[in-house]
């Protein structure tokens, strides 16, 4: 059971880190950014490629992976969102344009093989790969029947510290106040002299950097990097997490991540392994029907 609790905390941290970025964009823009899971995948793929195919050190690769994820935030804004905002398109149109971008990113990675157009990005096609052992420090201890693995343990403080920093920035800094003003009422924020477009770009950069970091941590700690990790592992679960926590609420997304991790692991332990995913989604459905404002009770507003 102890090991299962560790498993739950680890995967919960990944869910939380991923979902914070998801919910940040939703909070500010009222848009579900479906390219978020592709950024998650891309950052992990970039970090792997830099280490294995371009001979970079692990830390440089991770830093560059996060930088590229952050830049993808700008791509999302300038390619998928801003043109639609300019045309006063309904928010649902942004769902489609971000799906389009996700499709491009995943397809580029899965077609990356030696000698193809995208071989600089990825050479393993649809294959899952693992970061070669030895490229990063990963001490593992077996204590009192528990397996404590460095890479997984590191995920927990990294996530918590980053989320605390984000919470501080949102609450106590000029930038955070600006972001919250835009989230509350973009028009009023503009009248107050806030550069709304800049704030939105900033939101996407922060969100995508967090998503990318989550992807790298997931890929490295679980030894699973493939074109499909974002789609299969976090895309839909991320939705569940931000609903559990209350749409748009950052502390809610953090809590939601850990709750979903716990629900999934508990389902495996108590109800049998094969119902894990079914239970999580049944919980999601019930949650929305019974308590649509989420665990954290963020005010229910009509969105999208």
């Amino acid at each position: 059971m102890g090991q299962q609790i560790l498993n739950a905390i680890f995967i919960g941290s990944i869910y939380a880190l991923f979902a914070v970025g998801y919910t940040l964009v939703f909070g500010v823009l009222d848009i579900l950014n479906l390219a978020h899971s592709a950024v998650f995948t891309l950052a992990a793929a970039v970090a792997y490629t830099l280490v294995v195919n371009h001979g970079q050190s692990f830390w440089v690769a991770c830093a560059l992976g996060i930088v590229i994820a952050a830049l993808m935030g700008l791509v999302i804004e300038y390619l998928c969102l801003r043109p639609l905002r300019r045309r006063r398109a309904p928010p649902i149109a942004a769902l489609i344009s971000t799906i389009g971008l996700a499709l491009i990113i995943v397809a580029a990675i899965e077609q990356g093989r030696p000698g193809t157009l995208f071989s600089w990005l990825w050479v393993d096609g649809a294959n899952p790969v693992t970061m070669p052992p030895g490229t990063f420090p990963n001490p593992t201890w077996n204590v009192a029947g528990l397996t404590l693995e460095g890479a997984k343990l590191a995920v927990i403080p990294i996530s918590i510290v980053l989320m605390l920093i984000l919470g501080y920035v949102m609450r106590f800094t000029q930038v955070g106040r600006g972001l919250r003003a835009v989230a509350e009422n973009p028009r009023a924020a503009r009248l107050m002299g806030i550069d709304v477009d800049r704030m939105i770009s900033l939101t996407l950069v922060i969100s995508s950097a967090l998503g990318g970091l989550a992807g790298i941590l997931f890929g490295v700690a679980l030894g699973d990097i493939s074109p499909y990790i974002g789609r299969d592992s976090v895309e839909v679960r991320g939705l569940a997490v931000i609903v559990l926590g209350g749409m748009g609420s950052i502390p809610g997304a953090v809590l939601g991540g850990y709750v979903l991790g716990a629900i999934e692991v508990l389902a495996v332990v108590l109800l049998g392994s094969n119902v894990r995913a079914g239970v999580a989604f049944a919980a999601l459905f019930l949650m929305l029907v019974l308590r649509p404002q989420g665990l954290f009770g963020a005010q229910l507003r009509e969105r999208l």
């Binding site: 990944i14 899952p128 397996t147 030894g223 299969d232």
Partner: protein, 398 residues
Amino acid sequence: MRRVRLVSILAAVVVAAACGSTGGGGTPANSYSGKTIKLGAVLSITGAGGVYGPQSRDGMNLAVDEINKAGGVNGAQIHLDVKDDASLQSQSAQVAQTMIQSDQDLALLGPTLSNSAVAVHPLAESLKTPILAVSTTGIHIVPDCNFPKTDPCKFVFRDSLGEETAIPDNIKSYAADAHPATGVLLVAQDDKFSSDGGKIVQATVATYNINLLKVIKFNKAEADLSPYVTQAVAAKPDVIFITSLGGIPAKIMIEARKQGWAGQFLGGNGFNTATVSKNAGAAGQGARSASAWYLGNSFPSNADFVNAFKTAYGHDPDQFAAQGYAGIKIIADAAKRANLTFSDLPGDREKLRAAMETVNIQTPLGPFQFTSTHDVKQTVWIIKMDGNGGFTLVHQIS
């Protein structure tokens, strides 16, 4: 309708003749010469089966090149069209239908995954087109592709070793070597290949006095397999059976080793490619599976195949490449003897089908003949992962 069909067949023949003459040249000696034999392969290049499909494709392309360079099939060149089904059942069926009806391919190869085969094979059967499975190992692939209907599918063949043979052979060989007492089975319940393998394991273990402590089912697109591995390891089994495919086996092995478990991994056809062995790395060392092919086997045509493959692609072939390569050679041999007309496509397909039943050639898989149920009967190689992305031989079961 009839006239239109005739016109389109004529058009196909003209196009085929044109292609043939530009591609092959050569002196006309018989009705084959200058013609083109069109084959289609439905493979999973992307998606979960993307670990295996590209290997099959490389093996097939190599065989096509060799045959065409050596003058073709009685002078006719082979044209192979490989299409990706993205590991999706419905896409697989659509691609196959396009190949059969629109591209007018003589015969098909594939699909990569058993999951897709249950959609594609009955379709090929109903459209009376020969199809050769080159990697599918599930239950009810041949001869009863229309299971639960039991009448045999006349047009469906396979050159891949069924798990109904491979898994029991593997368990038997390990039981004789190490006498394990307990086991745990990890199975992806939403995948035909994995689930079939799981059933076979469950049906086999009792024979060798292995007590199956637990069957742990999960879904193939699960984010984190650690909770399942923790459960498996907690039962302290001698053996962990893994019947999944793609990236799953390696993930399970790595996690189980990290959690301090030191027992034996036994698996199925999902193990038998370099990617899986490479991903598992040191964690996979010693993991055993039964394979239809072994790199160092001493069959007459194997060394040539391995060398040619290495020259062409720069790395060793694996079982899937060998089966794809053999698949093309099998169809080419049948086509050679089928007395094709190149004008009557349904007639040619029936002739090819009949000729395939009497194939008898040397392949890297060994001397090859189909059984009366269109299946393979061949040497089984028990191999284990060497910890570096390769495999070493444990036993040979003839």
